[in-house]
């Protein structure tokens, strides 16, 4: 009864404050980003500007061939505005430099051909054909894209001179080099000798779904960490914890009621983000178990931190350091090659992986194991926070 009374009071206070609405509003904004901005599949529409330094008929033949083969399609001509510009081009092979200075301004229309992915048929790149080499170079520089001059030698072999921005990786440079070094037939012949054995079908999340674990951890649990601190410091400023301490109700009921409020907001905000994106795909029982337990653990950490300080300004340094530390596993989530052992000890690492497994309907054992770990850790932190609050009631 006292616990319910505390919870209802906390919910009333939360509903009359702005933190509650910030969290809900943030969930709605994140959902809007997921649904409206992030596409389900990743697209890499590579753009390049090409000048064909060869007879018109040969150039037209090459373009028509790729269109007929189904590798490309002709679209409407694209309009570009060329502005006055100065730049220097360095030849990587010889080291020679050439200064370019254009002071005119003009609008040009370029023939545009879209290249398609041979396996999916989706747009893979766009090539704009410039009428002069100068225009091609100006556009490559102005649009920060790759430029190329395709020329035909006396033996009828096409060679390419690329104009890059200077920051491209060696891998890309090598790829461009290899793609023109051998005839496609030779590459295909070599490729056909390779035996490919499929070891298993790996389930993956699409682009949009892949963002959900990150939003759940950082917009849910970490916001919970911050908000529980904010609630406690607000109460400390009002002195109401001391008033609570002289009632028969134990302090742990006061603390757990704060966590219940955080759980309520996190469950609502996480549902707002997850359900419309994932629909019926995940195991929601497992999802809510993991969400509630991890939020409990992180909010308990917040309570423990709050017990050491008497105002949010004094706690800010520690609070900021913890939040930054908890953010680090996100790098590993997005850059799988960055996965050092020490990173796995950050609580947000298994949280991210756990949510990913749940959304994939993957390894339930991993999720349940870490649920137990977080539950045990959360209980320890909560007991420590309770002891600290009892000691520092006069703060």
């Amino acid at each position: 009864m006292k616990l319910l009374s505390n919870y209802l009071k906390e919910m009333k206070i939360a509903a009359r404050g702005f933190y509650f609405y910030i969290e809900i509003a943030m969930a709605v904004i994140l959902l809007a980003i997921l649904l409206l901005v992030v596409s389900e599949t990743s697209t890499s529409n590579r753009k390049q500007f090409v000048y064909n330094d060869m007879p018109q008929k040969i150039a037209e033949y090459l373009k028509d061939k790729s269109i007929k083969d189904g590798d490309a399609r002709l679209t409407d001509a694209t309009e570009f505005k060329l502005k006055p510009v100065e730049f220097v081009i360095t030849n990587q092979e010889t080291g020679e430099t050439a200064a370019h200075d254009f002071d005119d301004e003009k609008i040009i229309k370029l023939e545009t051909i879209e290249t398609l992915d041979s396996s999916t048929g989706e747009l893979a790149g766009t090539t704009y054909y410039a009428e002069t080499e100068e225009d091609m170079i100006r556009l490559a520089y102005g649009e920060s894209e790759i430029g190329a001059t395709a020329a035909m030698d006396a033996r009828g072999k096409v060679s390419y001179t690329y104009y890059l921005q200077g920051y491209e990786t060696d891998k890309l440079k090598s790829l461009l080099y290899i793609s023109h070094s051998e005839s496609p037939s030779v590459i295909n012949a070599k490729k056909d000798k390779q035996v490919v054995r499929t070891l298993g079908v790996m389930k993956t999340l699409n682009n949009r779904e892949n963002l959900v674990p990150v939003f759940l951890v950082f917009a849910g649990s970490l916001m919970g960490f911050f908000i529980v601190l904010a609630y406690i410091f607000y109460d400390k400023a009002e002195g109401v914890i001391r008033a609570f301490a002289v009632t028969p109700s134990p302090i742990w009921k006061y603390l757990i009621s704060k966590i219940f409020v955080i759980l309520t907001t996190v469950v609502v905000s996480s549902s707002i983000i997850t359900i419309p994106v994932m629909k019926g795909q995940p195991n929601y029982l497992l999802f809510y178990i993991f969400l509630i337990i991890t939020t409990f653990a992180i909010a308990s950490l917040g309570l423990l931190v709050a017990s050491f300080f008497d105002s949010i300004s004094k706690a800010f340094g520690v609070m900021y350091a913890i939040m930054i530390a908890l953010l680090i596993p996100a790098f590993s989530y997005y850059i799988p090659s960055f996965d050092p052992l020490w990173l796995r000890f950050f609580p947000t690492y298994p949280m991210l992986q756990g949510f990913k497994e749940i959304l994939l309907n993957g390894d339930a054992g991993y999720v349940l194991t870490f649920s137990l770990v977080f539950l045990a850790g959360g209980l320890v932190l909560f007991v420590l926070a309770d002891k600290r609050f009892k000691k520092t009631l006069t703060v």
Partner: protein, 290 residues
């Protein structure tokens, strides 16, 4: 109701004691004043008695409970009115009292009755955050009565209140005392202590210098005087005469027989004067609390 023996407390546990080896007893139904200047050890003592500070050294029984043992149910018998108002600003006056009422295991008072008692009628549905400092203080005071406490801790109960409201609060304290409530009143305002307390303790630098009834202290330490104003040759003359001196008592008779008396008052030493006499230190208090 309260028994304190050899109580000492050091905030940093480094030998610098805020309270040094003090002892006193408060009987059932008594209003006991704990008087001293800021930093004397009043709040530390009250903090220990209310359980907000951990008992380090000594023996303390409060409302029949040994406070060394954690027994939250003792708070059913205790009410605490804090010096600094501490109510939920986002809850209304009524919601604040209703919430606290639910935290006790004993029958509680009607929040509306308490709101009326402290003169906050019509403000029950206003959020406490919109209250003035005085109104918040009255709500904090009202909250301390929600569980009909047998033992009532009052920390500067009239601080910051205007004289009319302060008089109301003092009347409530008297009424509660008449109903048998034991009060432990912590203050540096000697006028309130003089008006309300059956006994007072003077505490300074963490040590109790004296415990007695205000009346006894005045008898023991005060000189009885009479202030007389009379007319002599169309002029008002003032004289202060000691009543303990036989010659001076005779002088009172002469004045009464030969002159037209304008005013005549017997005068006792104030509690504050006695405090200064006993401790050698002055009390500093806010004008508004006089």
């Amino acid at each position: 109701m309260i028994s304190v023996k050899n109580l000492s407390y050091s905030y940093n546990e480094d030998g610098n004691f805020a309270v040094k080896n003090i002892g006193f007893e408060v009987a059932n139904g008594e209003t006991f004043g704990f008087l001293g200047p800021s930093g004397a050890g009043k709040s530390t003592t009250q903090g220990i008695l209310t359980g907000l500070l951990k008992l380090q050294d000594g023996e303390v029984l409060v409302a029949g409970y040994d406070i060394r043992k954690v027994q939250n149910e003792r708070f059913n018998k205790i009410g605490v009115s804090f010096e600094q108002s501490n109510v939920y600003g986002k809850l209304t006056a009524k919601e604040n009292l209703e919430y606290y009422a639910k935290l006790f295991d004993v029958p509680t008072r009607d929040p509306m009755e308490l709101i009326h008692l402290v003169g906050l009628d019509g403000k029950e549905n206003v959020r406490a955050g919109e209250f003035s400092k005085g109104m918040k203080h009255r709500l904090t005071f009202a909250r301390s009565m929600i569980n009909n406490p047998e033992l009532w801790f009052l920390d500067e109960p009239t601080t910051g209140l205007d004289p009319a409201i302060a008089a109301t609060i003092k009347n409530i304290i008297r009424e509660q005392a008449a109903e048998g409530t034991t009060s432990f009143l912590t203050t540096h305002n000697m006028f309130i202590a003089d008006e309300l307390c059956d006994r007072v303790a003077f505490i300074i630098d963490g040590e109790i210098k004296l415990i007695d009834a205000p009346k006894n202290l005045k008898l023991q330490y005060g000189q009885k005087l009479v202030d007389i104003e009379y007319i002599d040759d169309s002029k008002i003359v003032k004289e202060t005469i000691k009543t303990v001196d036989a010659l001076e008592r005779k002088r009172i008779g002469e004045i009464v027989n030969n002159y037209e008396i304008q005013t005549m008052h017997s005068k006792e030493a104030t509690l504050e004067e006695i405090f200064i006499q006993v401790t050698g230190r002055e009390l500093v208090y806010n004008e508004t609390t006089k």
